[in-house]
Symmetry: C2
Subunit: 219 residues, 2 copies
């Protein structure tokens, strides 16, 4: 089984710009990628491929981990992934790069939904209709359609092929980091390098007088 | 084992006022409560108590399900729950009333973390630092502290007593419904009466040209 992580350094995580500078967002995106790779490493995964758009991103990925396979593509996310799937002859796990709360147990349980429960497709939903981890048993019989309500779109595509689908229900996997408020979850539940780094640069939580949890940056 | 659900009809779900009228919010809160009660009903739960602040709310709860025990208290949520816990002599499951995505499997798995894994306390986190479901084996050795980052506060209280804690990791349980954007999750993942009702009154999803999922109301 292969795992593939799409990754883009350029203008990474632009919706975090109210709280992180451009270079900080790039650093943070790399820490998240590092956390994700660390948790995917598993005896059931034969190789980890990074699908990336530029040579600069590729060389950064190689610095993180020299055993990664870097695949360069200038196509859009969906086109690049569908091109990738069309060439692969074994099961594939597609993992987004901005999931710093995932752990080894999640990956094992998702794979077990195939090994034990015979799922052809496993979808771990992201908040807001997204798809955060996607297991595909036979890549020749599936196409991805990320963005928008991709969770519903992936269900439809799976049904079109008559695939057996399992939904993997995890709060920690559902938290892709896009907006400043998502960092609240990382500060509360995070244990990896990206959580450590955002604390180090001064991001912290306060509880305001309405007893709401807010994110602040202490310089 | 007892289950207890705090419920307030008056000015229920005020943060949904941009999209639902006051009477709609009350109706919606009751549908959510009904969904929650339907999923808690379980051979391991001996009784379901509804902790509520007014006779009007109490009579509505009785209409939903005549086998519920209604407990009236004018105290704040924390004071009312801690008073309740001080009198109970058996394990307690505290379930918030605004969790329309929970199902019977969640309740069973949370209880099994006690029965099989010997947890004294099980916390199912809500988004933003909240606590959505809380299992307490020995109510004489715990106090609740809801609002703010209650997930962290409950961890601290459990540690103070030396309790064994398990975290129950579920995306569906983490989605308490407070704000309009939370209804996106209910429209995508909901299967109960509250999901049916919000569709019936015209709430639906659109994917805008930036490929973001948005909630709209069609009159």
């Amino acid at each position: 089984m292969k795992a593939v992580i799409p990754f883009k350094k350029e203008n990474a995580k632009s919706r975090l710009s109210p709280i992180l500078s451009s270079s900080e967002r790039e650093t943070f995106a790399l820490y998240m990628l590092k956390d994700v790779i660390g948790q995917i490493n598993n005896e059931l995964i034969d190789s980890i491929d990074i699908l990336t758009t530029s040579i600069q991103s590729a060389s950064l990925c190689e610095k993180i981990n020299s055993t990664l396979n870097i695949i360069l593509s200038e196509d859009s996310l969906n086109d690049a992934l569908n091109e990738y799937l069309s060439k692969v002859k074994e099961p594939v796990l597609i993992v987004m790069a901005d999931l710093p709360l995932i752990n080894k147990k999640h990956i094992k349980e998702i794979i077990n939904l195939n090994l034990i429960n015979n799922a052809d497709i496993v979808i771990a939903p992201g908040k807001g209709g997204g798809t955060n981890i996607l297991f595909i048993k036979d890549p020749s019989k599936f196409q991805v359609d990320y963005y928008g309500a991709s969770f519903l779109d992936h269900l439809k595509i799976a049904n079109k092929y008559g695939h057996k689908v399992e939904i993997y229900d995890s709060f920690l996997v559902s938290n892709d980091i896009d907006e400043p408020s998502d960092l609240i979850e990382l500060l509360i539940h995070g244990k990896g390098e990206s959580a450590h780094w955002i604390k180090k640069i001064g991001l912290t939580l306060i509880v305001n007088k309405n007893k709401e949890v807010k994110l602040v940056r202490i310089e």
